[in-house]
C-alpha cells in the first residue's frame, strides 16, 4: 500500500519522459520527450522523430503504466555487471529509474518503447 501510494505520488505516466546512458567507459547521452511531444537529444545518438504525436505519447504512457515503472527501485545494480559498462536510466514524470546491467525486464520494456518511439539509433 505504501509503495503504491508512493508510486502514484511520484510518477506521471503522461510524461515528460527522458532516458539515456551514463557512467562506465563510454560517452553519455540523453533523450528528452517533452509533454508537447518535442524530442531533444544531447550526446552521440540520433533520433528519427523530433516530435511525437498525441497518439504516440499515449502509447508511451500505456507502456510506462503497464510496466509499473514507478514501482521499480530508483537504482538497480545487476549482479556481475562490470563498472565499465554504462548504466541506463529512464525518467517518467518525476520518477527516475536507473539500471546497471540487464536484469530488469520491466525497465527494458519501457526503454524499448521509448527508443522505438523516437526511432533511436546509436553513433
Amino acid at each position: 500500500m505504501v509503495a503504491l501510494l508512493a508510486a502514484l505520488a511520484l510518477a506521471s505516466p503522461t510524461g515528460p519522459y527522458s532516458f539515456g546512458r551514463e557512467s562506465g567507459n563510454i560517452i553519455p547521452f540523453t533523450v528528452t520527450i517533452a509533454q508537447s511531444g518535442a524530442v531533444r537529444v544531447t550526446g552521440p545518438v540520433k533520433v528519427g522523430r523530433t516530435r511525437l504525436t498525441a497518439g504516440q505519447l499515449a502509447v508511451l504512457a500505456a507502456a510506462v503504466s503497464k510496466a509499473q515503472l514507478a514501482t521499480l527501485p530508483p537504482t538497480t545494480a545487476c549482479p556481475g555487471t562490470l563498472p565499465d559498462i554504462a548504466s541506463t536510466w529512464i525518467k517518467a514524470g518525476s520518477h527516475r529509474v536507473q539500471v546497471h546491467g540487464s536484469c530488469s525486464p520491466r525497465f527494458t520494456r519501457v526503454w524499448n518503447a521509448l527508443a522505438s518511439a523516437v526511432h533511436l539509433s546509436y553513433g
Binding site: S23, P79, P83, R96, S102, G123
Partner: protein, 321 residues
Amino acid sequence: VSLVIRKLSSSLVAVAALVVCAVAFGDPPSPENPAGRGNDVLGVVPVQSEAGKQAKAGSNLVYHNGPVMHTNATYAIYWVPAGYSVSASYQSLLDRFLTDVGADSGKTSNVYDSDTQYYDNSNGNILYSSSFQQDITDTNPFPASGCKDAYTSVCLTDAQLQTEIDNVINANGLPRGTGVMYFMFTPKDVGSCFGSSCAFSYFCAYHSSFGSGSSVTLYANQPYAAWVPAACGSGQSPNNDDADSTINVASHEHNETITDPLGTAWYDRQGAEDGDKCAWNFGSSLGSTGSGRYNQLIDGHPYYLQQEWSNKSSRCVLSGL
C-alpha cells in the same frame, strides 16, 4: 465546511507521510533489485539535472579489502587475423604509450601518479612502477561470432576473448598474477559484448579477470575506439592517428586495473572506479600538436587522456594527488 477541510488536510498529511516513509526506506528487495554491488544507494533519487554530476563526482573511493597492483607489467596483444589489419602507426603508438607510461614511473606529472594514494592490506601503497614487456601479434582466426552488435561484422563474447588471451599466454609462456596486465586490442569492424552489453553502445573498453590465486589473469578488452568516434572518440588526436582514442580508454582501463584489479579493492558507493568517475573529463590542455590538443606529456610524448579520481583532493586530476 471547516470540518471537511480539516479532514481533507489530515488525509493529505497522512498520504504525504506515507510517501515520505516510502521514499526514505526505499523498496524491498525484488527480482529487479537483487542485493549487490552499488545497492547501498537504493532509495536515493537524484533530480535529473544532478544525476550525472552525482554519478561522476559522488563520494570518494572506498577500500573493499581486496588486492591492488603494487607494480604492473603490461603486455599488448593485437588480435589481427588474415583479412584484418591495423596500421603500423596504430600499433606503434599504443606500444609507445605503454612504454612511455613505464618510462615515467615514479613521476608525479601524469595521471598515473593518482594511483599511488591507494593501497591494500598486504603490501601498502601502490607504486607508480610500470613496465611494458612486449607486444604480441595474434593471427589466429576469429571464431564464429558469439554475439551480435549494432556496429560490427564480427562480435566476440567475453568468453571468446578470455579463451584467446589464455591461448596467447600459454603459447608464449607468459606470466600471470596480480602484477601483470594484458591489453587485448582488436581491429576495425570487430565488436564484443559482455553479456548483452556491447561495445560502442555500452562500453568503449572494459577490464576484468579470470582464474584465481597466482594464476589469475588480468586483462582489458580494447576495441578499436575510433570505429565509432561519436561514442568512443576522445575528440582530440595529438598524434594524428586513430590510436589516440584507443589510448585514452586504455589509460582508463590501466588505472582501474591498478587500483581495482579483481573488483574487490577501490570503488565508490555506486560501484564506480577511479576511471569511471572521471570518464570523458579531460581537464585543461597543455598545448597542441597541430593535429589536436594534448593534456599529458609522458616521456616527452603528447597524449590526450581523461583524468582519474583522487580521494585526497576529492576530484578528478591530471597529475599529482
